[in-house]
């Protein structure tokens, strides 16, 4: 699936698909699972968390990429964390100022994006070797990949765990007894397990070379 000669740098489409789907950070790389389990009891939380991750990964990838030739190798990880932390705290503060209810719901998990392996992983594995525009695309793509999984888990857990999603005006028939386990942490594992299985069924991983 190569799309050489695109408008930006020839690799944008490929990078986007790799991050969002083929090399999905959660279902394929199994990164960032902690927050995928913690904040997905409601769909709305999943969406805001995904937005936060898209913003943080894109921006930190951009800055790391711009600085990639000037960051001293010995302190490159510390520098990456400083950059990531700056954007995460920025997002957290804005949430506290302008979207207070959501900030209450997400609690410490916004701040914990600093330690999310996806953000750091992309900075290390991609932004340090690639030009800025492509790095932004990669950040957005991985954020979207994370978002797809979170949204799917949030949808599944809220719908079957509480019997309705008020945000979408969706509700199951009254005869359905909400499965409270889905709202709890074990339910998140179950939902994630099903989802990873589904993803692998739709697009099977390449046979590992022996």
């Amino acid at each position: 699936m190569s799309t050489h000669g695109g408008v930006c740098c020839g690799k944008c489409g490929e990078t986007l698909i790799a991050g969002a789907w083929r090399n999905n950070p959660i279902s394929i790389q199994v990164l960032g699972v902690c927050s995928a389990l913690a904040v997905t009891s409601r769909l709305e939380n999943s969406l805001v968390m995904s937005a936060a991750l898209i913003f943080v990964t894109a921006m930190s990838n951009l800055i790391v990429s711009v600085l990639r030739t000037s960051i001293p190798r010995r302190i490159r990880m510390i520098a990456e964390v400083a950059i990531i932390a700056t954007f995460v705290i920025m997002f957290d503060q804005l949430l506290k100022g302008f979207y207070f209810d959501m900030s209450k719901q997400l609690g410490p998990y916004v701040g914990l994006i600093i330690t999310n392996c996806i953000v750091m992983g992309r900075a290390e594995a991609f932004a340090l070797q690639n030009p800025p525009v492509l790095s932004i695309v990669d950040g957005i793509a991985n954020g979207i990949g994370y978002g797809i999984v979170l949204t799917a888990i949030g949808f599944f857990r809220e719908l079957f765990g509480t019997g309705a999603i008020p945000m979408l005006g969706l509700s199951l028939p009254a005869a359905y007894v909400p499965n409270q386990m889905l709202i709890l942490a074990p339910g998140a594992f179950v939902a994630l397990g099903f989802l990873v299985a589904l993803f692998n069924w739709i697009s099977p991983k390449e046979e590992e070379a022996n």
Binding site: R74, Q93, G97, F98
Partner: protein, 219 residues
């Protein structure tokens, strides 16, 4: 510039730039964050006093509505023998010069962490008029249901006294259905949270009952 000097130089510059950006963002959002935090407290008091506030009211408007409608009374409430200075206030909703609803703050241990809320009664603490929980760490979907409407609405109109005349309310657990005007249904799967909520409500009622005689001033 040799390698080490450059590393230190880079770290200092990066650290400074990050700090400056964060300070700027912090300064910019500070008034909004503070207004939100204050409005949140007032919103809870308004809600438990059953003073309607439209969805999406700005923090500034909310504070205005609060100041117009809520009077604060200092009582001599004590907690464990000590003056409960912080939690000794009653928040009053007046009507024709009489107390229509009075709210008090309560807190206590939940299953995972402290639970905070407000309890509203009529002026003489005979009947409960409302209850809110504004901060807790109970399990979402189980103990976390304490802040759901179905749980809180049950308290409205219940008596604050048991049949023996003592203050208290029973949150039924273990499959028992609430009956009588002094019982509410507990939460299935959250027996411990239900019991702890009952304990903190009994405590706050007793605290304010003792203080009723030494009510001081209405501001």
């Amino acid at each position: 510039m040799n390698d080490s000097t450059y590393t230190v130089f880079f770290a200092v510059v990066l650290g400074t730039v990050c700090a400056v950006i964060l300070t700027a963002v912090g300064q910019f959002t500070q008034p909004f964050r503070e207004a939100n935090a204050e409005a949140e407290i007032k919103k809870n008091i308004l809600s438990v006093l059953d003073i309607k506030v439209a969805e999406g009211t700005s923090p500034a408007d909310l504070i205005k509505i609060y100041e117009k409608n809520v009077k604060i009374e200092k009582t001599g409430a004590t907690e464990g023998g000590k003056s409960a200075s912080k939690n000794s206030k009653r928040y009053l909703r007046m009507e024709n010069g009489k107390i229509q609803t009075a709210a008090v703050h309560f807190s206590g241990p939940g299953l995972w962490g402290p639970v905070y809320g407000y309890l509203a009664t009529d002026g003489s603490m005979k009947n409960i008029k409302g209850i809110t929980f504004y901060k807790h760490e109970e399990t979402p979907g189980l103990g976390g249901e304490i802040d759901a409407d179905w749980f809180r609405d049950q308290f409205k109109g219940k008596s604050t006294r048991r049949s023996d005349g003592s203050f208290g309310i029973t949150v039924c657990t273990g499959g028992k259905k609430a009956s009588g005007n002094n019982e509410v249904d507990g939460i299935t799967g959250a027996t411990l949270t239900s019991e702890k909520v009952q304990a903190m409500l009994v405590k706050v009622m007793q605290t304010f009952d003792k203080s009723k005689t030494s009510s001081k001033e209405v501001k």
